[in-house]
Symmetry: C2
Subunit: 426 residues, 2 copies
């Protein structure tokens, strides 16, 4: 069915950038191969809800093959990409190679521990389904262990949650943990009062949600304080070890530390032989290609793109989606002998949920907060989810949680669960 | 709130037996402690649907604390029980002890590999959420690996699925895998045809579903054959190793082998100092207590109970539920100075789903099969699920799957997912 003389477009990564690029090529006369090491596209903006037991992972994940099953010019390859051979036009897999005519790189990023990789074991970050389930188990396990802990100091450490990073993910995690403690678990324990949980949100900068207008940062901070979250701005985490975290020079005994700070990008960039910025991102041209190689385009977290107003675009889903589509169109243009066009980001706004019925949003130039912003947040997220089934279930889960105050996926599974009794015997 | 002179009933295990026992004690003047090493009750009859990507684990699991949150005389302890000190009336935990006045043992079972524990690595069984997610990843990964396999023999081995054990779980797994191959995945691959999958159900006895009337066994076998499942009765698995399984003296190259045969019970029984049957089950008295210790009662998989008609009760949910309730009532009777009553199982029937719109059921004396049996199966399972939310979601998922032929939880996660590329490089 596939004619081999059609240009072969290889897309690395099936996140927002890669998947929207693949779909944008549906009616073009090209062959598309999407390579990802996972079999599913993950709706990352809602991953914090899986980590806080509000949603199941399958509600926000969708098989890449199912997304592209009816797109006859596309095929999917589940494999790990280890390098790009720019000279030979080849993507090097762990056990094979794929030749390309055009390459679209959208591999996304992971968390950066700012030169302290040893912190990762004590302060997991949130990028994959496994991360989310691990964090979910840790949060729920902390309450379980506190219930059977007789020592008061250790019980308080078990009920102390430190979230590092005051961006949207950190704010959403802090708000959701506060809700778990004050609502979902409130009748479930006999010895501890889950409301005694201490939740600390640490932000190095002067305010949380730095990408938002200042008035919304202040609003978000006020809502978090109402939920009894301690918001610490201008505070830097200087050390993390088992059961203990240093904020500046103050030690806080906390069994659960979550990492929602900086991201680092795929090491693939280093194999391209082009200049990278300090964070390892590729300094792309205005058409999203890399210097000297118009056939290679980079989008999403891996691309350092400075927009016409001189601002570096943030690592957000809308940026990746628009870049993915634009890069696909530029490839299509080149295939037809046309010139590529420069990319411009259309900033429609930014949102973050804080808790039940509370969010902050800038939609275009309009700043809103509270219930209205939360409704906007709900429907925008539902709209961008893939598939009717996921939309329906997530909407039902949110309505159900809103009414009952319960969280539907309170499962402790995996190693944390299996070793329940080991943790008890610490 | 709890008065310490009320009798203390300790329940080990929050499966069907333990949880229904705890709830039956709600209005009794006792203190109840439920001990389980997991934080959730698992609706085991639907676990095969999690393993075959039809449901999410949170749809069939419910936090034990949430079930008992409003039951003021009950508390929950998440801990691993390692032994029973019968003389001292104590449950020995991995790091502690709980004294009891009455003990209700309902720890359930695991799979038995008939003296071949080394088979477990190649042929996982289905008892926990982790088991189900591991099996799900293996099934989906087999198709992924087949898609990128160039060697014809190895590709066929990757598309060969052997299910050992022709009871309800084996039949349901075989039917669901056939549906995945013939329906859910049918448009998703470009090189392989998922319908080429070979699914073999192996049963040592003369017919599948041996606990069902023979006419229903035959019906189930016919439906499986229509789904292109090879049913091999009177066949014994004699060896399992990586990529290879021996049925009798015939070797079959199969990358995915699933274990749905015999179960073995908790080693806790051995610490009771009472006679056990060949499978390690406790030979309980007619009132479900153990010989010489009227304060210890055993229910569910761990109890070897011979009913008045001389038949050993099978390890099914309805048996555990009825025994759990009856044991709780006997404890309540003893607390009031009354005599315990003998247990009698009320056999309302038995059901097994085979595939989309197909099931077999004996309801009382009535034998039905086909669509009507499937509708009965659906509503009986929905009825016994805990919580409105789970019932609603599961019913929606089934309706959705019935209409679209899709399976909603096609996620490859965990180690199998992480090592995707390792498997490729075998």
């Amino acid at each position: 069915m596939m004619v081999n003389d059609r240009p072969h477009v290889v897309i690395v990564g099936a996140g927002f950038g890669g998947l929207y690029a693949a779909r944008a090529l549906k009616y073009e006369d090209v062959r598309v191969t999407v390579v990802d090491r996972r079999n599913h596209h993950l709706f990352q903006p809602l991953l914090y809800q899986v980590a806080t037991a509000g949603l199941s992972s399958s509600d926000i994940a969708y098989p890449i093959r199912a997304v592209l099953s009816r797109q006859q010019n596309a095929r999917v390859c589940m494999a790990e990409v280890v390098a790009i051979d720019v000279a030979a036009h080849k993507v090097i897999l762990q056990d094979g190679k794929i030749e390309y005519d055009y390459l679209l790189l959208a591999p996304g990023g992971r968390h950066s521990y700012f030169g302290h990789p040893e912190w990762e074991a004590y302060a997991p970050g949130l990028k994959s389904v496994e991360d989310a389930l691990e964090i979910r188990s840790r949060i729920l396990m902390a309450f379980e262990r506190a219930e059977s802990e007789v020592d008061e100091t250790r019980r308080q450490a078990l009920l102390t949650f430190v979230i590092v990073g005051g961006g949207p993910t950190g704010v959403e995690l802090a708000g959701a943990i506060a809700e778990i403690a004050c609502m979902a678990l409130v009748h479930d324990f006999r010895r501890i009062n889950p409301q005694d949980a201490r939740i600390i949100l640490v932000e190095a900068g002067p305010r949380i949600l730095p990408a938002f207008p200042e008035v919304l940062s202040n609003k978000a901070e006020a809502v978090l304080r109402e939920l009894h979250v301690e918001v610490r701005t201008n505070s830097v985490v200087t050390m993390i070890r088992s059961g203990d975290v240093m904020i500046g020079d103050q030690s806080i005994l906390a069994e659960t530390v979550l990492w929602a700070a900086g991201i680092t990008v795929s090491p693939l960039a280093q194999t391209l032989g082009v200049p990278l910025d300090r964070e390892g991102r590729v300094l792309v041209e205005s058409d999203l290609s890399i210097p000297g190689h118009p056939e290679i385009l980079v989008v999403g977290d891996l691309a350092a793109f400075v927009d016409h107003d001189g601002v570096l675009l943030p690592g957000l889903a809308p940026v990746a989606i628009q870049q993915g589509r634009h890069a696909a169109q530029n490839i299509a243009r080149r295939c037809k002998g046309q010139l590529p066009e420069p990319f411009h980001y259309v900033d429609r706004g930014i949102l973050a949920a804080i808790g039940r019925g509370a969010a902050v949003a800038r939609i275009g130039p309009i700043k809103i907060s509270g219930f209205l912003a939360w409704v906007a947040w709900v429907f925008i997220h539902i709209f961008f989810l893939i598939g009717f089934r996921n939309r329906f279930i997530v909407l039902f889960e949110w309505a159900w949680a809103y009414i009952t105050l319960q969280r539907s996926a309170r499962l402790i599974t995996g190693e944390t669960g299996k070793n329940a009794s080991d943790s008890f015997s610490r």
